[in-house]
Subunit: 169 residues, 2 copies
């Protein structure tokens, strides 16, 4: 079970960033993506619609009490932050510790210090300000790789040299 927990969503300001977080999590194999912060039904529904069409079983949900989500997760808990230890330096250890159950926590502007002290690892994908989407994608890519097949898709792409080839069921 791979879960991604997105903290501190703000309606309006974060809707597109959070949508990218959810869809990125799905492309790199997340089974569940949980959004916290302000509840944003429209943002959640738009992701569910995309997943219904493009397949796979990634579950999209909202939780108010995100601390319990972190506290009670059984498996490897990693918070991605530009302040954390370098992914390059910890990838071997993470790969050893990863037995299939993984919680990846990605924040927004301000992540409470509680998070830093209640995960197994605070990991940086670069120590510069950039993007939680980029950090999530590269972290998952290095740890677990891209997910290639999505069951039950109504629509899919045939990779092409220079065309847009979309197929429908």
């Amino acid at each position: 079970m791979i879960k991604v927990l997105r903290l501190g969503h703000r309606r309006g300001r974060d809707d597109r960033i959070s949508t990218h977080v959810g869809l990125t999590a799905r492309q790199w194999g997340a089974d569940k993506v949980i959004f916290s912060g302000e509840k944003d039904t429209k943002m959640l529904e738009s992701q569910k619609d995309i997943i219904a069409r493009w397949g796979g079983n990634t579950d999209i949900s909202y939780v108010g009490d995100w601390k319990t989500e972190i506290r009670e997760f059984e498996g490897l808990k990693v918070h991605l932050t530009m302040y954390g230890l370098r992914l390059d330096d910890r990838l071997d250890v993470l790969q050893d510790d990863f037995k299939g159950d993984l919680l990846v926590v990605v924040g927004s502007e301000k992540v409470p210090r509680w998070v830093y002290h209640n995960v197994d690892y605070n990991i940086s994908v670069g120590n510069q300000p950039h993007s939680e989407i980029a950090a999530l994608a590269v972290f998952m890519d290095r740890l677990n790789g891209l997910k290639e097949s999505f069951e039950g898709a109504q629509v899919w792409v045939e990779p092409s040299e220079s065309d847009k080839l979309t197929f429908k069921e």
Copy 2:
């Protein structure tokens, strides 16, 4: 010279996504990030401010005539699109063709077909809808890796197990 060209920016709607594109490009070693679409001085200035503080020489600019930017670039030209050939299947070829000069084109919602026919490769990082930020990060990570040092920084992070350690010049 590594350039990233971001097509079709829309003021307001895309400001945060485009900012993430620019900062992600910088973290993975871009020398220049060029934005096209609507001119958005505030978005460009906010990136320049971040770069001035965090160091490095990534140049941020706007261009109206993005076709000339693609047409006249000398070096490997790659357009990232969910419709393209799989990165997994083309990484070896790309690594062979990459001699230091690279133009990465990332789009927004609708990329004109002209782009598909005027680059060397249309490459997909996953064939699912997700995020141009994720695609850019993983593409650059696999081709070129993270950039670790940024000259002239006024502020930097010391990677830490569970603290936020920021230093100022």
